[in-house]
């Protein structure tokens, strides 16, 4: 699964996710990637999220929307909201994976509970960063 989140000059956020799904899948199974609110969500007032991981858990936990809702209603930072969902709620359900997020002011955020996630950002200062492991 691959994903991206971005903030443009007009202050608009966007999020996108694309995947091949799960090896050996049957019965037309899909995971969270095409499900708005689970694998992908964007709201200028809160955040943009793209998720990757064991889809069934991300759907049941409505991960992408839940993170944005916590920012919007609990007024917590995007990093805290992401960690509450990925490191606590999802982990409690035995779900593994992570998210990349972008705040309305251009702060990139990662949160993942697996051993690695291919990830990177170019921040508002133009600094580029890429990483693989925890």
């Amino acid at each position: 699964t691959v994903g991206a989140v971005a903030l443009d000059h007009s202050g608009n956020l966007a999020a996108g996710t694309s995947t091949g799904g799960m090896t050996n899948k049957k019965f037309g199974r899909i995971g969270d990637s095409p499900i708005i609110g689970a694998g992908t969500y964007a709201d200028n007032q809160a955040c943009a999220i793209s998720a990757t991981g064991h889809g069934e858990y991300f759907i049941r936990a409505a991960v992408a929307h839940d993170i944005c809702a916590r920012v919007k209603y609990k007024k917590v930072s995007l990093q805290q909201a992401a960690d509450e969902v990925i490191q606590e709620k999802l982990k409690a359900m035995q779900g593994d994976g992570g998210i990349v997020g972008m705040s309305p002011t251009g702060e990139p955020v990662f949160s993942f509970n697996s051993s690695g996630m291919y990830r990177g950002y170019i921040d508002k200062n133009g600094k580029i960063f890429t990483a693989i492991y925890q």
Binding site: L7, G16, T17, S18, G20, N24, G39, A42, F112, I122
Partner: protein
Amino acid sequence: GNIAIAIHGGAGTILKANMTPELEKAYHAKLAEALKAGYQVLKTGGSSVNAVQAAIVIMEDSPLFNAGKGAVFTHDKTNELDASIMEGKSLNAGAISGVSRIKNPIKLATLVMNNSKHVMLSGQGAEEFANSQSVELVSSDYFHTDRRWNQLLKLLKDEPDSFKLSEDKDDKHAQQSKNPQDLNNEHSAKTAQLTQWPDDDKFG
């Protein structure tokens, strides 16, 4: 205002012990290429939706990631791709699932968002919509990589007999794997090493 972009290429059991220095370098290079493609769109005043698309297309076209070229195989030896996109301003969104002939699924998801009343289209219907939008359909062979094919073979060997993969010789994917050109492809050779990777067990 500020512009910024962030990407991911999948999460899971990624162990340093199983990664060769060359492959690790290839991943960092492809992640940086995807970031720069998206950031270029933002720098020239483009929209965040177009920036997200530009970054994801780079990763969909790379066999390193489980999307587009390099996607995993289903139990039926096909590739079924899913994608979605959403814009924060209007909460408009588009998604497609279960397509097998769309080279860049994120582009089709964006067309669903912008050119249809729907949010999600799936399977054959999504491909019919693609046709109506003059989206190029590719052969399903396009998505084949040895790495993913071997992952499926390895899995099916462990499954109860009823799911065993038939060894019929005229199986086009099996034939494609034996294609020396494919094996010589630098990326295939590198990523084929990943078959040594201890895959986690979230299969099927």
